[in-house]
């Protein structure tokens, strides 16, 4: 009886706080993405015109982001039948976008406006109950350059 109650409380807490924080996080992601849209991010290995650029310093951003209890349970149930784990998709999406934003911000602070050779690194930090994904770290790095006039 008590076990069931504890699980129910954890579920409510997870659902309440988790969805509230996700909503707030997405809101701030949209805002900051609009602010930093001038900083361009490219995946290509080289600058197309090296003679017109300066710099090339390493910039990076990272974030450790965790899923909530409710989502973990939903994903656990979903794993029985297979298919898309929607609750984890939003976790990775939030993590990657947050990491890119932090990288862009550090490039802006250093006075650069383009980032080349961007690479992602994802690792799972801790496993949750029943070996589900608990939290993931997303690390993104690249070389920042600016146009030389």
């Amino acid at each position: 009886m008590w076990d069931l109650l504890i699980i129910l409380v954890l579920l409510t807490l997870g659902y309440g706080f988790g969805s509230y924080r996700e909503k707030k996080h997405y809101q701030s992601i949209y805002e900051r993405e609009a602010e930093l849209k001038d900083i361009m991010v490219f995946e290509s290995r080289f600058c197309p015109q090296p003679q017109q650029h300066l710099g090339g310093e390493l910039v990076h951003g990272n974030v450790v982001i965790s899923t909530d209890y409710f989502k973990m349970l939903v994903a656990g149930l979903r794993k029985l039948v297979g298919g898309r784990l929607k609750t984890y998709e939003s976790l990775f999406d939030r993590g990657r976008r947050e990491a890119i934003l932090r990288m862009k911000l550090s490039a802006q602070e250093l006075g650069f406006d383009q980032i080349f050779n961007v690479r992602f690194e994802t690792s799972s930090i801790s496993k949750g109950a029943r070996n589900n994904i608990g939290s993931v770290e997303v690390y993104v790095y690249g070389s920042a350059v600016k146009a030389s006039e």
Binding site: F17, G18, P50, V64, I125, S143
Partner: protein, 109 residues
Amino acid sequence: MFISNMEIIPQQKINKHLGLVQGSTVRAKHVGKDILAGFKNILGGELVAYTELMTEAREEATERMVQQAESIGANAVLNVRFATSSVAQGAAELFVYGTAVVLESQSNT
């Protein structure tokens, strides 16, 4: 020390290649922070303590790589890559490697 993950740096010339340099660190987190993080796992959201820990650890690994590069007379490390592997529950190894080179700025004509 100039660090970049590009192979060709705009307006700079590579004078000399000095080979691979690397740095790594294995970090575990604080028990108190771990318990807090376990609590956060229920509520969801960013684990700020871990984010800081990983940043610190990567800085340390980079510092070690830079020391190695300095000791063989390089002034830049290019084509830098990062790798992460979890050693045990609650501990992670952060590895960074790159090519040590001597860079020289190319005068624009």
